[in-house]
């Protein structure tokens, strides 16, 4: 086990998380309720309460590079049950945004899924489910994943082979573009 140099506490990171999430991280007294109730904890590399603790001791890299923050599905169990009134799910969301910004995303697949999803929205105004599925699976190098679901959907009016764009597709695209411009992306 490595020794954690307590002088390495990154106070700017703590402040940034607090400002962007609107949550007071020092409220956390490490009861562990967030971890106890998390349905995804079994897949986490770092349990939620330790993510909170790592923020308290300003360990930016370790937090932002964790897989856990990407495996959180924002189910709000932690937020609902936190006895300290911390919106933990909101903190996790904030960490994902920060990890993206800092180029520290450890779960490339999930990021790509999110990107593909939004790309579909940007192109068509709505999510084109078939296109999203195909594109995602192709890029993941497993084109036949979920192929067995096809017959379950076929002939039930659930699959559309061609995207249907909404009329205001331009306005949606504008939202993305104005957003990119505003954030200087």
């Amino acid at each position: 086990m490595e020794i954690l140099d307590l002088a390495s506490i990154d106070r700017d990171f703590i402040k940034a998380v607090e400002e962007e999430s609107g949550q007071d991280i020092s409220l956390c007294y490490q009861c562990g309720n967030c971890t106890a109730g998390c349905p995804y904890a079994f897949a986490f590399d770092i349990p939620v309460h330790q993510i909170m603790r790592l923020i308290q001791v300003g360990q930016k890299e370790e937090v932002l590079r964790s897989h856990a923050i990407w495996l959180c599905a924002t189910c709000e169990t932690c937020t609902t049950r936190c006895p300290r009134n911390i919106d933990v799910a909101r903190v996790m969301d904030t960490l994902r945004i920060m990890a993206r910004r800092e180029g520290m995303v450890s779960e490339a697949g999930i990021r790509r899924f999110h990107d593909d999803f939004l790309d579909s929205v940007k192109r068509h105004g709505r999510v084109y489910e078939v296109g999203l599925l195909l594109k995602y699976n192709l890029q993941s190098g497993r084109p036949f994943a979920d192929a067995e679901l096809g017959p379950k959907l076929l002939g039930k009016g659930k699959l559309h082979y061609f995207p249907e764009n909404i009329k205001g597709v331009g306005a949606v695209k504008e939202i993305f573009e104005r957003f990119a411009k505003k954030r200087g992306l």
């Binding site: 409220l27 009861c31 562990g32 106890a36 109730g37 349990p47 049950r81 936190c82 006895p83």
Partner: protein, 660 residues
Amino acid sequence: MRIGVFVCHCGTNIGGTVDSHQVAEEAKQFPHVAYSTDYLYTCSEPGQQEIQQAIKEHNLDGVVVAACSPIMHENTFRRTIERAGLNRYMFEMANIREHCSWIGEDKEANTRKAIELVRMAVAKVANNVHLHPSYFDVNKRVLVIGAGVAGMQAALDCAEGGLDVVLVEKKSSIGGRMAQLDKTFPTVDCSICILGPKMVDVGQHDKIKLYTYSEIEDISGYVGNYTVKIRRKATYVDWAKCTGCGLCMEKCPSKKAFDYHNEGVAYTTAINIPFPQAIPKKARIDPKYCRQFTKGKCGVCAKVCPVGAINYEMEDEIITEEVGAIIVATGYGLMNIEELGEYGAGRYPDVITGIQYERLLNASGPTQGHIVRPSDGEEPKRIVFISCAGSRDLSLGRPYCSNFCCMYIAKQAILTRDHIPNSDVYVFYIDIRAPGKGYEEFVRRAQEEYGAQYIRGRVSRVYPRGRHMIVKGVDTLLGTQVEVDADLVVLATAATCAPGAEELAEKLRISYDGYGFYIESHPKLRPVETNTSGIFLAGACQGPKDIPASVGQGSAAASKVLALFSKDKLESDPQIAQVDESRCIGCLKCAETCPFGAIEERELRDGRIVARVIETVCQGCGLCTATCPPGAIQLQQFTDNQIIAEVEALCQAWKERSSG
């Protein structure tokens, strides 16, 4: 006038950021100042001697001390000047510590402000007049509200000290929470065995007048002379006749009444004596369940009662008692378990509270001390305790620690293993709080000798699977989720203020915090006093506390009352409101605003109506002064003229400064 000014350094507390010497020098220029000096610790013995000496040498007739808050030392210095022959009200304190040195770091600005504060105080003393206290009689009877262990201790100590005690208890028996407990920590004494003798003493003491099943209706008056109206609630049983034989309970056909003493883990009969050791051991009818009341016919108890004590027509009765002091010992309540939805509390019968578990453990409880699951009456083999269930919980509005749960969980863990040796006991905790004598050792025993499995972490969810309750939690020391397949789950639910605590506080005119616990006069130095003179606190009504602390406070409150009553006459503070009858227009707006009911209407000989202040009731708050349209009512020592003189002195200082 010849005023002396004494500026304190308070070591570096003031001296660090205020130039006390300069303040004293500047003060020499103020009108009426005949002497001014500074000293390292003015409150010390030599500091006080210097004041007394200066009064004599310089013939002073008014004194200003610039130091800390008057809350700390006003009385000290008033006595100092009194010893030198001055009237104690010819004195003012300028607070240059809390109001000045402690709140700013700019020494120059602080010094300037200190000078201004002293200047105001000097102007005030120059306008002060001699005030003299008056004296009034004390009624040396004491009212104790609440007959749990704290109230009983207070009542017994007062009675042993020779006082007449009126003891009022809401429930039909005395004993309080402690009477519900099985054992006490850390000695594992049988609770009722050590409480019982005290209960008997209270019941038999000829100095204690006991009103059980009674509540405070109204309180008026002031220290030394309170008038208390007590509501004796209808029990529908004539207690003068009732022998406590219990025949009515045996025959009562309504057997599904809520059992308060057993916290609802069992039913009782509609007419009942709450527990075998009850004092007084008298029956009471619960009209919510009694068939005579709900269905209009039954009458079984009336038929079987051998002494004819049943009276369905009984009504509440209001009794008036006169006392000189009051001890409040109303104890605590417990949060509603249903607030803990994630634990299925209130929905699943095998999720219970600590106090309910205590009743299951109790040999005189509904199961004769056999631990059984409420759902099916089976003996549980795997029992999970969850601490901080609703305590230290901001989301439920209770950030405070409930004080005694860590210890009673350890006790219940030990008792569980005693009762069911092959059981598994799990305790989920966040922190263990065991600071009392022998407490830490006791918690260790639960783990080391009794093998209770302590898990550091909180439980997120409890849900049923088949006949078991699945407890889903975390072990934060391991950093892993944990699950236990339990037979019974016990929640250490948060302690709250007693039901109705706020309403009682309003009647008593004492303060309470945001959670309904009563506020003591000083958290360290006046722990059993309130800010209303003559009213004292004991036990958990002030905040959750365990038995030894409650008993300690009961005795402490009693000693305060005995000290108060050691004088035959009490001195009344002359700093109260006074009506200038020639200016009063009789609108009585003052009477409406007075929070103490200290102003009454008075008719003068010429038929004119004016306000009159009842000296002993007035607390000197000044609300009436601010209300009075013609300014006819003035608070002595804070008259309009005195306050205006201070403001003028401040304006003068600013004027001089701005003109350079």
